[in-house]
Amino acid sequence: MKQTTRLAALAAAFTLALTGCGTSSGDDDGDSATGTEAQGGFTAPDIPMADEVGDYEDSLSVLAWPGYAEDGSTDKSVDWVTPFEEETGCQVDVKYFGTSDEAVNLMKTGQYDVVSASGDASLRLIAGGDVAPVNTDLIPNYADVWPFLKDRDWNSVGGQMYGVPHGYGANLLMYNTDVVTPAPTSWSAVFDDASSYSGKVTAYDSPIYIADAALYLMETQPDLGIKDPYALDEDQLAAAVDLLKKQREDIGEYWSDYLKEIQSFKTGDSVVGTTWQVIANLAKDEKAPVEAILPDEGATGWSDTWMVQASTESPNCAYGWMNHIISPEANAAVAEWFGEAPANEKACDLTSKGFCETYHAGDESYAEQIHYWTTPIEECLDGRTDVTCTTYQDWTQAWTEIKG
């Protein structure tokens, strides 16, 4: 057994090395005969897709955003992992991650079978050969997913789905209702007016947060010509970086650990900053005087996809999980717990009254207004061809500079 694992790992490493070479020379298109060409100009490595679901294996290791795989240990009534375990016999082992970058890195270790990837991670996982295409015919519940979530830039390549849509939502602005008055309605609370709460402002600790600044600039400085916060040329990136450097002076601390943010808001060390609905819910549970709103400018957000590890040893459990997590029951439970719109149409029949209206679930035009996390690449995502855009690596470097 040990020997086989090692061989498999070796084979996987070898494949990775090969595909690595393939992607690196993707520019000249000379040797991209295998795989499919994507809109980003990269070549998806040729990885086989499952064509049937057999007997379930013993275990499944799940890599998820906090709150996506609850087994009742956080809150007794919040549990959709146990029913899955009882139904399939797959013992679920959950690991939470705090940023998309962490997810990409952990998936590269090959130790996790399925992952809930946001748009800024999914394409990187596909290009890196870390996830396999998903045969949606094997997932009965896929039929009930809103059509506008299928075959999108962030979850498919050339019409081939690489996962199942899970849900979507927006990054919100959270503030301490005792301290921050009047209640903010705009992201200016953390940018131009941040100095009013100097030292108590918080922001998400990831290069992708640069898009939040870009979104704000889109509204406040139209002459910069930003059309898509993930397609920034050098000047636009520089403007966003300047804004964030100014914000840095008023930042108390950055957060990527959701528990740390809850604690900071509870003690009052942070009074205003970006958040997710689930963090606001947990903070309120702990009696922190907070409120979370969707500011006037709109927001960045996520549209998540469950993907399956290319070298998984539990493919059947993985397909079982993907079918379970988008079933109306589980999907409704996750959506309510995490505070996002579910992907399954039928989930809205099971959520509490008014929930799906609040989150505009299924409202396609609303969903289009959220700027979903996407990996910035050289080829501008907004369709401009006269300039090259800055890549995620540029953003990473800029982020280190912003923090100083």
């Binding site: 690595g20 992607t23 970058d101 890195n105 590269k108 990831s206 003690t267 890549t391 990473t396 500079e401």
Partner: protein, 258 residues
């Protein structure tokens, strides 16, 4: 010995070799193309100089604070306390080392929080570099006390008495008799406190506010940027600093008398 060489120097060599590679921007896989780009970035982009300076200054501050705090404690333990009390004190100094690093760091987070104990006294500097220095000084203090205590214990009482008999004041005895014995011990302790601080990234995450140190850059380049080669290049900075530090220590001759 051979194994030590292979495992220890081998991994350092691997670190250095990795730092000369690069990653493909999108998939994040390592490409084995030799180049010096990582080092060029390191030298030409200001922020890395700032972070290096901040890290070294923090390490120096922690070392100095620990040395000043440890000296009276070590002196009392070695020269004043009764053998019974001595044993009790050694145990007392060692006990904190059994508690988890994280627990202690988070305890300090609670101390510095708004509305926390230090804030009630009006003494909390808030999360930031000062809090980081305090936390790290606390964490590494035993590593300074123990070598100092061991060094002072080797100093025979008769030397102190002889010094007094010859008419030296306490101050002169300290300067001419105790300090020369203490110096190599303090240097040994400083190697611990300095190098441990140089590589730390967790304490600054927890109590450092928005500040980052070299360890965070390594962590971020690896986990966030998915750029192992660059992380390796950054990680060579503390190695170089430490080599320079050890070289300087060797010149003072402190290592010979250990």
């Amino acid at each position: 010995m051979l194994w030590l060489g292979v495992l220890y120097l081998g991994s350092l060599a691997a670190l250095f070799i990795t730092s000369l590679w690069t990653v493909d921007a999108f998939g994040g896989n390592i490409e084995r193309i030799w180049n010096l780009d990582n080092y060029r970035d390191l030298f030409t982009i200001d922020v890395y100089r700032t972070i290096t300076a901040r890290t070294i200054l923090t390490a120096v501050a922690v070392t100095v604070i620990d040395a000043l705090l440890a000296f009276p404690i070590a002196l009392y333990m070695a020269k004043v306390a009764s053998p019974r009390l001595q044993r009790a004190l050694v145990i007392a100094v060692l006990t904190p080392l059994w508690a988890s690093y994280l627990v202690k760091a988070y305890a300090w987070r609670g101390m510095f929080a708004s509305g926390g104990p230090l804030d009630d006294l009006g003494l909390s500097p808030g999360y930031g570099l000062v809090a980081t220095v305090v936390t790290l000084s606390y964490l590494w203090l035993p590593y300074m006390i123990l070598p100092m205590y061991a060094g002072l214990e080797r100093l025979p009482d008769s030397l102190l008495e002889a010094s007094a008999d010859l008419g030296a004041t306490t101050r002169t005895t300290m300067r001419r008799v105790v300090l020369p014995v203490l110096f190599p011990a303090a240097v040994a302790g400083s190697i611990f406190t300095f190098s441990l601080t140089l590589g730390d990234y967790i304490a600054v995450e927890i109590v450092g506010g928005a500040n980052q140190m070299l360890g965070n850059v390594v962590y971020d380049s690896f986990l966030t940027g998915n750029n192992l080669p660059f992380a390796a290049a950054v990680a060579t900075i503390p190695v170089v600093v430490m080599l320079a530090y050890l070289g300087a220590v060797r010149r003072t001759g402190a290592l010979d008398s250990l």
